[in-house]
């Protein structure tokens, strides 16, 4: 191949710029955040608007299954925050553990095969279930998050919340995109 000078320089430039581009870190635009950091922030906010029936420990346990990315973000969050002087503890559960010991269970897309079993296990226990699996709020998860136009929206299954004995604040209900009764 016989590259003319112009062609060669242009190719070198393209190569360099691509190389520099790849090595540049992902940069956030204003008011836009990585998906799992956003989801973690939402989960934390949901707990602020939820009332559990009395439980003795001074900790709020948020459980995740196989979504490592969400758990890491939640852990970062928890290190900064407390809720009403309660400590927030993030715990990984596997299918064999009793999810009923958690105050919040997050079911991610990775947990899809196990979601029906987990839901059956904690039926009628005071556990706030949250998911990002599309359509699962309708199937019985209390709060479902969806992505719409690059933003997170959420829907609430009020029936499931009542069965679990949880009180969701009216503010939370007002902000929900959809409520299943």
């Amino acid at each position: 191949m016989n590259l003319s000078d112009g062609k060669f320089i242009y190719r070198l430039l393209l190569f360099l710029s691509l190389f520099l581009g790849w090595t540049t870190d992902s940069v956030g635009q204003q008011n836009s955040f990585p998906e799992y950091a956003m989801k973690a922030a939402f989960v934390y906010n949901f707990t602020l608007f939820t009332q559990w029936p009395e439980y003795s420990e001074n900790t709020l346990t948020v459980c995740t299954m196989y979504s490592d990315r969400l758990r890491e973000e939640l852990e970062q969050f928890a290190s900064k925050l407390t809720q009403d002087n309660k400590k927030i503890v993030i715990q990984k559960i596997t299918r064999n553990q009793n999810a009923a010991q958690c105050q919040v269970v997050f079911l991610s897309e990775e947990d899809m095969t196990h979601a029906p079993t987990i839901l059956a296990l904690i039926q009628n226990s005071p556990v706030l279930t949250v998911t990002d699996i599309p359509g699962w709020a309708e199937k019985g998860v209390i709060i479902g998050m969806n992505i719409q136009n690059q933003r997170i929206v959420f829907e609430i299954n009020l029936k499931s919340a009542q069965q679990a004995g949880l009180q969701l604040s009216s503010k939370l209900l007002n902000l929900a995109r959809k409520i299943y009764k």
Binding site: L14, K80, E110
Partner: protein
């Protein structure tokens, strides 16, 4: 050979112009990179997520994380998925290009249609029958040839596709007739994905242009609307076929001059609410055929026009707490028109396929740990008409189907899936399709899936009734063909970021329908000896947190025809490699892919060499307000390679594929 080169050069004359254009655009990109690369992007004024209120959070935009897509199709086999992000990153223009990137699949193009090859099926010219194509759950194969349309004759623009899933293996248990070797499941986007009007204009090599206009909106009452129209025109290439350069003065020295053009028009409309959906589509493609198949006169006007239309509706209702009902109904209309010259005489060919169908599907959850699905379907293929100068036929038929399926959760890490379906055809009788699958998760995120399934395909109207009155003979006595397959899949996942899988399969066909060779005295479809295929597929996929992603696969297949010989056009080795990365945050994205196909056997019994093809795409992502630019180079290293020709393309045994070609697309959003 010399002549060949001159011709190729002639046909590439246009490409040099595009190359210059490409250089220009490249340089502009470079400039951008340097201008913005150093400073502006460091502007990192992040709000604190931890301090944000719920109202604020709802207004923040998110940067979607790259993750392994979850399958929608209900199947235990090793499903392959290509998402809208992939379509954009790799610049896919047709369903064929999408399928060609998937593990173990390869497309064969005879300059008329894209044929799909995979586990134990490969023979070009079978009209991609034996593969079921679903668009949002609606069957989109025509009912004369049972063909699935993957090229520019397909019903849907790739820009409207949310995801494509390929489910390898027999799928009759869920979809009945013709879900024989696999299912291609297209899920289209919603109006809200566009949220306004979008216009796209593209230009490409071989004087190709395309324009598309799409409008999407979600109304406040949750009703979602998507409307789209597009048109494509391509002049195509001139070809030199040495096989036709035989001194015959009518053969133009073996040069097919301007016999490769095509154009298409597409419309698509989708309106959906919370529990209902209405969808309609139309596509018409006209393609000139340069290869003079079936012994037609060379370098004369030979064309195929395929028109597909459909309307479909779905309604979902909760009959009780534990019982859901889905009602589906569709109508479709297929027209084919072909014209060719034989010894100076026109041979017009026409077929019309029309059908409607309806289905009631129930989903019951009465018992914990059981998910029961059952239903009935009726389908009326009321017209399957073939018109040739020699003979016409029209044989309608009806199908009644019943099916049931149960998914047991035996333990919290063990699932059993049992299903069976019976289809009754008024012309071909009954066919039973069972499926058995066991899914086991011995350790968290380690999966073992074992399945057995059987599928069937009835002879098509074309196979049974088409005749030219002398050489191509009908065979109304054709019987249903069957396939059995067993598959073992081992999969390891790490969250939704990484996975590796290995699949081992064994598959046999029973009385497969095939033609006698075109070199014999007459051509007729017959039920022949069963064939067998077995193979191993390995795939690894990883998504980085900075949204780079890679997918690599290797497939080994050992496919034998009914006589125990190596099957025609079945490469033993197939390799795929896909890598995409964002550049400068998310402002640009590159996609690079590599496809390797080993040697294949042709209809003449000889072999043709393997090849490796690389494609590359560069996209801008909201770099310029409202305007996205996408630039693709296919066959990056300008490899000379051929596909195996269908038998009826004699004297051609292989067909040369496109040299390096370019595609530039501008997409503008009206916001």
């Amino acid at each position: 050979m010399n002549k060949n080169r001159i011709l190729i050069r002639l046909s590439r004359k246009y490409n040099t112009t595009v190359l210059r254009l490409y250089s220009c655009i490249g340089s502009i990109f470079c400039l951008f990179f340097f201008l913005i690369g150093s400073n502006t992007l460091a502007d990192d004024k992040k709000h604190d997520l931890a301090g944000a209120s719920l109202e604020e959070l709802l207004n923040f935009e998110l940067i979607t994380a790259s993750k392994i897509a979850r399958q929608v199709s209900d199947a235990p086999s090793a499903v392959s998925i290509v998402t809208a992000d992939d379509i954009k990153a790799y610049g896919y223009r047709t369903l064929g290009e999408i399928l060609n990137s998937m593990r173990g699949l390869n497309i064969t193009y005879d300059r008329a249609y894209d044929f799909l090859g995979g586990r134990g099926f490969s023979s070009p010219g079978e009209y991609s029958g034996r593969i079921m194509l679903l668009i949002d759950g609606m069957q989109a194969n025509d009912n004369v040839y049972n063909q699935a349309y993957f090229d520019h004759s397909g019903l849907i623009d790739t820009e409207l596709i949310e995801r494509v899933e390929y489910v390898p293996g027999p799928g009759s248990v869920a979809y009945g007739n013709n879900a024989f070797f696999g299912i291609v499941n297209i899920i289209t986007k919603k109006g809200t994905d566009f949220n306004g009007a979008q216009a796209a204009v593209s230009v490409g090599s071989f004087l190709t242009g395309k324009a598309r206009l799409t409008y999407g909106k979600q109304f406040s009452n949750d009703v979602d609307l998507l409307l789209s129209a597009s048109g494509l025109a391509s002049r195509g290439q001139n070809f030199y076929f040495p096989e036709f350069d035989n001194g015959d003065p009518l053969n133009n020295n073996g040069i097919a001059h301007r016999q490769d053009g095509q154009n298409n028009q597409r419309f698509f409309a989708k309106l959906q609410g919370r529990n209902w959906l209405f969808e309609a589509g139309h596509s018409r493609r006209h393609k000139d055929i340069p290869t003079a198949p079936y012994g037609a006169d060379f370098n004369t006007h030979y064309f195929y026009t395929d028109t597909n239309k459909f309307v479909a509706g779905q309604y979902h209702i909760d009959l009780s707490n534990n019982l859901k009902l889905s009602l589906l109904t569709d109508f479709s209309d297929f027209r084919y028109h072909g014209n060719s010259l034989f010894s100076g005489e026109y041979w017009p060919d026409e077929s019309i396929g029309r059908r409607w169908g309806t289905e009631a599907k129930f989903s019951g959850s009465w018992f914990d740990f059981h998910k029961i699905i059952f239903g009935v379907a009726f389908r009326d293929d009321f017209q399957r008409k073939i018109i040739t100068p020699a003979a016409s036929s029209d044989h309608g038929r009806q199908t009644i189907s019943v099916y049931a399926q149960n998914e047991f959760t035996l333990r919290n890490n063990l699932w059993l899936n049992l299903g069976v379906r019976n289809d009754y055809f008024t012309d071909d009788g009954n066919a039973i399709s069972p499926r058995f699958a066991l899914i086991y998760e011995p350790l968290p995120e380690h999966f073992v899936r074992l399945s057995y399934s059987r599928a069937h395909r009835t002879p098509t109207a074309f196979e049974k009734f088409y005749t030219d009155g002398e050489f191509l003979l009908p065979n109304p006595n054709l019987k249903i063909e069957h396939v059995h397959a067993a598959e073992l899949v081992l999969e390891r996942r790490w969250g939704n970021q990484s996975r590796v899988l290995a699949s081992f399969y064994h598959q046999t066909t029973v009385k497969p329908i095939q033609t006698t060779p075109y070199s014999s005295d007459f051509v007729q479809y017959l039920n022949t000896n069963g064939a067998r295929a077995r193979g191993i597929e390995i795939e690894a996929e990883h998504h980085w947190r900075n949204n780079m992603r890679v997918r690599a696969s290797y497939a080994f297949q050992d496919s034998e025809d009914g006589a125990g010989n190596w099957a025609i056009n079945s490469p033993r080795h197939l390799g795929k490699f896909n890598f995409t990365a964002p550049i400068y945050g998310d402002l640009f994205r590159t996609g690079v892919e590599l496809q390797v196909v080993s040697r294949r056997k042709t209809h003449l019994g000889n072999t043709t060499g393997g090849f490796a093809i690389a494609n590359a795409t560069l996209n801008t992502n909201r770099l310029i307000p409202n305007l996205d630019i996408s630039f693709t180079i296919r066959n990056l290293f300008n490899t000379n390679y051929v596909h195996v020709a269908p038998d009826y393309n004699m004297p051609l045994s292989t067909i040369a594929q496109d040299s390096r070609n370019y595609w530039l697309q501008l997409t503008y959003e009206f916001k």
